[in-house]
Symmetry: C2
Subunit: 157 residues, 2 copies
DNA sequence: AAATCATTGGAAAACAATATCAAACGTGAG
DNA sequence: CTCACGTTTGATATTGTTTTCCAATGATTT
């Protein structure tokens, strides 16, 4: 487990009087073994491939902990389940474009989004914290193949 | 029912070979009797205050129809149920700021958001369709009163 | 070793949303 | 008007996600 991740996790557990356990370590390691977005059930499958005894409840509980301590973020992909984004630690902020035609998710960086966010937030009398911009757009390649469905891409800058 | 709304609904029903029914009219009227965001269960309550025989299934089915024909939009308020926004027909595009402290939702208009959206979308090689910017921010008036919870405000321009 | 408290897995519950289906309804043809 | 047909409905069952419950287990402190 990456040192920065371990530290953040440890701090959070300590501050709440919680313990480091084998299950929590397996789950955190599994989360960061990929940078794809995922939902709880997908993660459960991945975790169980490593340790089949880990329960569904523990996965859900650990996800909550990870969001609390900033190791994960919810990401709005316009689907009904809750999706998580493990791919933002130590990286510039990114946002997501979702293709209406093929469901691809493209991560993109654009510094103007954050600037605009701060400007609008202050104008409305609030203190900036976080923004997310979700773009829905067409690639006009309807059903071009089955494999891009739900796949994430990262845009070159 | 507003003429523009009726026309759009009729066109959609006709194009799918569907019928205008008492239930669908009650539901559509109820949706537009307020400009608040709502979820399906809240709408069901409001509809049943008018006509207690309307079923949950019909409400869900009619919401789907209304989204299909552009009378409603999903809105991402960061809650787990699906929320709908009835407040965008014939109006400039707006986006939402959600207060982390008191859960208020502030609708705001800003023309730069749409410009930025188009610019980013084209840069990534997609054809623009729709964008939503969700801002989460602090009002620093934690729990200042119970009444602002989940209430929507509209920002002056 | 005992007391205390966190943690776990599994089952059950809660919840939103969808699917199923027989009965009721509306429409157009005759 | 009546019939035949397809649509619509409400009720219920079902699905799928997420949360809660609980007794058993495990870790830590004294």
């Amino acid at each position: 487990m990456d040192a920065q991740i371990a530290e953040r996790l440890n701090n959070h557990l300590a501050s709440k009087g919680l313990r480091r356990t084998r299950q929590r370590e397996v789950i955190v390691d599994t989360v960061f073994s990929s940078d794809e977005h995922f939902n709880a059930e997908e993660l459960l499958d991945r975790v169980r491939a490593v340790d089949r005894t880990v329960s569904r409840a523990t996965v859900y509980r650990t996800l909550t902990l990870m969001v609390e301590c900033g190791l994960l973020r919810h990401v709005d992909l316009g689907r009904e389940q809750t999706y998580y984004d493990p791919n933002f630690l130590d990286k510039p902020q990114h946002n997501h474009l979702i293709c209406i035609d093929c469901d691809r998710v493209v991560e993109f960086e654009d510094e103007h989004v954050a600037l605009l966010n701060d400007c609008i937030t202050r104008r409305l009398g609030f203190r900036p914290q976080m923004q997310s911009m979700r773009i829905e757009a067409h690639c006009d390649e309807l059903g071009r193949n089955g494999t891009c469905r739900f796949k994430t891409e990262r845009a070159a800058r």
